[in-house]
């Protein structure tokens, strides 16, 4: 357990080093947020919807703030896979799945917290109808946070699976790139899932991609009532369990293959 | 006036120090890479440029090849200032970095060469002639259609050399060209450089850590340390200064009684074979030979200077590098 924790801590420290890039990234992300909000406001001005504009802007800002949880490729890890240096890791006396899981988790968590908190403060200070609204209710906030945690665990498992695939194909830009792009569309980052056609939403919200951001945001802004929370959380837990199991199987198979092939 | 004239060349770099705890901004530090280096090189010379890591070798090469502008001092190469009118200047030089490729990775090397022809605007007839000649001299005939990435390190280096000589530069810089090469490739490379130098009178300046390169190629060697020139002359002269110890191996035809040597000589016996080290300054070689001959019938004998790398290490130590 200690080993995984120190992997986690080391990644945190590495993330902290790149502050210059981070500040640039935050400002850029804020800008993207403002552009999106301006677009949706213009669209709403022509044809208001059932869902108030405040809910949409809140959705946009929360998505932008936690963008790094969604996509954060780890170039070091990809390099390791491509160069074959990964065999060193496979020789370590740790469970390889959890070793990478903690690494991915640290990267995502740190990247998004350091960027997310200033973003949220900024979005909160924007005028009404432009920025981040308060949560619909106290239970909504708490349940939203809980859902964020499960969504996060689920997302790390998903990323670890794509790492496993990358190791198999040695081409990070193929399969993984495609998965990442699907993620952009079906996580609500490209367009809030709440603006998708209502019939589509029934399916999309059940996919793992929607678990990270969409479910917590809906709980936060009251689109899902707190009474619905058990159902939402159940979906998340099932996905987390399934994806972690699948990931462990994949990595075990990888390890076996590597031993058979002799690296 | 010499072909290369360098006078009081200075260059310093600003490096950012690691941020100390509790301080918001990193402090900056200035490192003087060159503190006034002067030398001159005649046309057609083959000069070795050595020194420990960080001595300023690469900085000198970069300034003389026009990549860097110095902070002070002058340099003239063939009557041109390298860092002014870069585009005109670089037509006349070639540079090979041992660890950096200038050819295209995924395509056959012949394609790279033909693109270089366009970049340097080499006339077709001239290009064909030169390529044929280099192909022959470097043994590239069989690999012209192979992509660079599939070549061995030795083949790659030969291809790089070909690429940087296509436009017939008057001056060739080599930055650690033999790094990582096997013995056969090294020797082939050295032979080629000698050929290019004598055939075309190309002036060659070579930085290296491999003393064999220097010994095999360079009539002249310059030693750089801490941004200053410490030695400039023939390699044997440089070695003589530090060549204090020699090793002799002697094999006798029959068993011999033990010989007593004067102080400062260390000897060890294995059966009929004697191995000893002595310093010619204290015990003249002639005197030693006499001693050895008196001891018994010599069947074989070898005399060798100390390993060249050790010498250089001793020299760096002496010069406090």
């Amino acid at each position: 357990m200690r080993g995984y924790f120190s992997v986690f801590r080391m990644r945190l420290r590495m993330e902290l080093q790149y502050r210059g890039a981070m500040i640039g990234g935050i400002l850029c992300q804020m800008f993207f947020g403002i552009v999106l909000v301006a677009l949706y406001r213009a669209l709403y001005a022509g044809k208001p919807q059932a869902l108030p504009i405040e809910a949409v802007t809140t959705y946009v800002w929360l998505q932008q703030a936690f963008f790094r949880m969604l996509v954060s490729t780890d170039p070091d890890l990809l390099d390791k896979i491509r160069s074959g240096n990964i065999s060193y890791d496979l020789c370590r006396p740790v469970n390889i799945y959890w070793f990478y899981y903690s690494r991915i988790a640290a990267q995502k968590l740190m990247g998004s917290l350091m960027r997310g908190i200033p973003m949220l403060v900024f979005a909160f200070l924007l005028p009404k109808g432009w920025g981040l609204s308060l949560p619909a209710s106290a239970p909504g906030l708490l349940l939203g946070l809980l859902a964020l945690i499960f969504g996060f665990l689920c997302m790390c498992a998903l990323e670890n699976i794509s790492m496993g695939f990358t190791m198999r194909t040695l081409d990070p830009r193929g399969i993984q790139g495609m998965l990442g792009l699907l993620m952009m569309t079906f996580s609500g980052n490209l367009l809030p899932l709440t603006l998708f056609p209502d019939s589509w939403q029934k399916v999309i919200t059940v996919l793992p991609y929607a678990q990270l951001m969409d479910a917590p945001i809906r709980l936060y802004s009251g689109i899902y009532a707190p009474q619905e929370a058990p159902r939402i959380l159940a979906v998340q837990i099932v996905w987390t369990f399934v994806l972690i199991t699948a990931g462990i199987c994949l990595w075990n198979a990888n390890k076996k293959r590597l031993i058979v092939q002799g690296g | 006036m010499s072909y290369i004239e360098v006078n009081g060349l200075r260059k310093s770099f600003v490096v950012r120090k690691k941020r100390e705890k509790g301080k918001l901004f990193r402090e900056k530090d200035t490192v003087e890479a060159l503190k006034g280096v002067s030398f001159s090189v005649e046309k057609g010379e083959l000069v070795g440029y050595i020194g420990p890591n960080g001595a300023g070798k690469s900085t000198t090469v970069k300034i003389l090849s026009g990549i860097l502008t110095p902070d002070g001092g002058e340099a003239l190469v063939g009557g041109r200032v390298p860092w002014r009118e870069r585009r005109e200047y670089v037509k006349h030089i070639g540079v090979v970095f041992g660890q950096r490729s200038q050819l295209w990775w995924d395509v056959p090397i012949i394609d790279s060469f033909s693109l270089l022809k366009d970049i340097y605007r080499i006339p077709s007839a001239e290009y064909e002639k030169r390529l044929g000649e280099l192909k022959e001299a470097l043994g590239l005939n069989d690999i012209m259609r192979t992509p660079l990435r599939l070549l061995s390190l030795g083949q790659r280096m030969r291809a790089e050399l070909c690429g940087s000589l296509l436009h017939r530069p008057e001056l060739l810089f080599l930055d650690e060209p033999t790094i990582g090469l096997d013995a056969v490739s090294k020797i082939a490379l050295r032979d080629f450089l000698k050929w290019e130098n004598s055939e075309h009178g190309t002036t060659i300046m070579l930085t290296t850590h491999d003393m064999e390169d220097i010994a095999a190629l360079c009539s002249r060697v310059m030693v750089l340390g801490h941004g200053q020139k410490l030695f400039d002359g023939r390699l044997p002269d440089l070695l003589e200064k530090f060549d204090t110890v020699r090793t002799v191996n002697v094999k006798y035809g029959a068993a011999v009684p033990s010989v007593s040597f004067p102080e400062g000589v260390s000897a060890s016996w294995t059966d009929n074979e004697l191995s000893l080290t002595y310093s010619p300054a204290k015990l003249p070689t002639a005197q030693l030979l006499l001693l050895l001959q008196e001891a018994g019938p010599i069947s074989e004998m070898t005399l060798q200077p100390e390993n060249i790398d050790h010498l250089i290490a001793a020299m760096y130590k002496e010069m406090d590098l």
């Binding site: 669209l43 709403y44 830009r173 | 860097l68 670089v90 200038q102 693109l115 605007r121």
Partner: protein, 266 residues
Amino acid sequence: MDTFKLYIRSIGMLLKGHLQYPASFVMQTVAQLVMEGGEMLAVILLVDRFERVNEWTGGDLFFFFGMMSVSFYITEFFGRGVTGDFPSMVRTGKLDTLLLRPRTIFVQVLCSGTDPRRITCIAVGVAALAVGSRMSGVVWTFAKVLALVESVCMSCMLILGLFLIEAVFCIHSVKSVELVNALTYGGRSACQYPIDIYPRPLRILFSVAAPFALTMHVPAAWILGKPLYGWPAWTTFVTPLSGAVVFALMVLIFNRGMKFYRSTGS
């Protein structure tokens, strides 16, 4: 002319190199299709839900989207050296080897990168343009075709110019390179919709600092028969030239930056 030939030959060779790995290439090209398809899907879904924005109909919006996709990805296709590879050229020292050749650095940088995978993105953009112009009932005349071609060319120059800002930042080893993305990728996201739906500060930003509105929206609006701000027809052919201005300016600054690079060392 000689430089142009060199560029064509260099890009041809790089393409040959890309095709050495056909499986990976096809895979990545399809991935690009998924990505740009996703962007297009977002516009379709918005049009489905909101029908129009201000006076712009769905067809108009597809047209604007197509203009941006085509321009942006043509730039990435042919200008990859500037839009993508430059930072790594500085890092790995490849820039040094370029300095050893008797050609301008800008030309060599441009010659050292291409991104053929973008072909599918360009295809999506062309499809959007076709669908958009059909839905909006555009009657194509010679002048309109000319306006479209000029607009795309000038937008490409503008985008190249904006990416050069990033290159200049790299030369000066400024860390916050990501900030420039607000202009480049941010400009792409924002200006795939017509400029007049945005509040004033954004309109100023994308008309003055990164004038996508001038290179792209003024001609596109005219082609669609709804001149932006009611400006006269001749503006359609004049305002896009701002793209060339930005480009020329940035090339100048870039060359300045290279002087700095050579005096500070790597």
